[in-house]
């Protein structure tokens, strides 16, 4: 199953519409969390919101996640070692208030398990590549441990 998510805050019709068009050719079920979009999907199971207790098992059983370039989605995919395809929101298309998701994908490009579709025309190819990856190696970045240690230092008054 392929799980599509646009996050909890804004709709993202460009992603949902593109995935709805691709869905019949993907040879696997597609479930989409659409947010407050206007486009009504016809070829995939769609929900505006999916509560976390339902969403987490879906992530677990998904083969690939397809998502806006939101950090929440990236962290969730990493937690379950799932490959994720990111389509960044663009401010010029009124998909977000600025282009920080473009910056996010520039920064994350090349990381294991993360594939970037610069626009919707690249989605099919990136999804194929993600499917070929299988389980994305779960990597506990050393940067996370550093963040925890530095936070404990801050709370304790050992400001660095």
């Amino acid at each position: 199953m392929i799980l599509v998510t646009v996050g909890m805050q804004l709709g993202f019709d460009r992603l949902i519409e593109a995935m709805d068009r691709l869905a019949p050719d993907l040879n696997t079920a597609v479930i989409a969390q659409t947010g407050k979009g206007r486009y009504v999907p016809r070829n995939m199971e769609a929900y505006e919101k999916i509560e976390p207790e339902r969403f987490e098992p879906m992530v677990k059983s998904a083969e690939v996640i397809v998502s806006h370039a939101g950090i929440g989605s990236v962290l969730t995919a990493a937690r379950y070692a799932k490959p994720i395809v990111l389509l960044p929101r663009r401010a010029s298309l009124n998909e977000h208030r600025n282009d920080h998701q473009m910056a996010t994908v520039r920064k994350l490009e090349g990381r294991p398990g993360i594939l970037i579709a610069q626009d919707e025309s690249e989605l099919a190819e990136r999804i194929r590549e993600a499917q070929a990856l299988g389980e994305a190696p779960q990597q506990q970045a050393p940067s996370i441990q550093q963040l925890h240690n530095a936070l404990a230092d801050f709370i304790e008054g050992r400001m660095l």
Binding site: P52, L75, A78, H100, L147, L151, I155
Partner: protein, 157 residues
């Protein structure tokens, strides 16, 4: 109540900011921590039953911002924190400001802004403001650190 026994106030709006802060729970919860969020329903689903709610706000709605500010003062007075930590956005900045003003001198409260990892090439507007409001501003990309005003001390990604 943890081994360090410091009172900590954390503040996060919805989306990635909250997810990033939640990743830090193992460290935060070694202290007496009060989480403040703009969406407490989500907090409950993550097993946090005692999260306080703060209305989300931004500069486009001054009345709501004022109400948020009043609530922020209340949160700070209630927790009397030794440390206030926020990943944003505006409500978090307010708590840092009031935490510093109200308890900076009395408790030596320290205030920390952690800019979201979503800001890959430029700090958020609140992040920039935090450099003058909080004791410390941390960024999550090394190339965004700017000497004394913002530091890189690890990242969630």
């Amino acid at each position: 109540m943890g081994e360090y026994n410091k009172r900590v106030l954390t503040v996060a709006s919805g989306g990635g900011r909250r997810d990033e802060l939640m990743l830090l729970r193992p460290t935060l919860e070694q202290n007496d921590v009060q989480h403040v969020m703009t969406d407490t329903a989500l907090a409950q689903q993550q097993g946090i039953t005692a999260a306080e709610r703060l209305p989300d706000c931004n500069r486009n709605n001054p009345l709501r911002a004022l109400y948020c500010g009043v609530r922020a003062v209340w949160m700070v007075l209630k927790q009397r924190p030794h440390a206030v930590i926020s990943t944003g956005a505006a409500p978090g900045l307010m708590c840092l400001l009031f935490g510093r003003l109200l308890f900076g001198r009395m408790l030596g409260a320290r205030t920390l802004w952690i800019d979201s990892v979503a800001n890959g090439e430029e700090l958020s507007m609140c992040g920039k403001l935090s450099m003058t409001i909080a004791h410390q501003c941390r960024v999550q990309w090394e190339d965004l650190a700017m000497g004394v005003s913002s530091h890189y001390r690890g990242a969630v990604l």
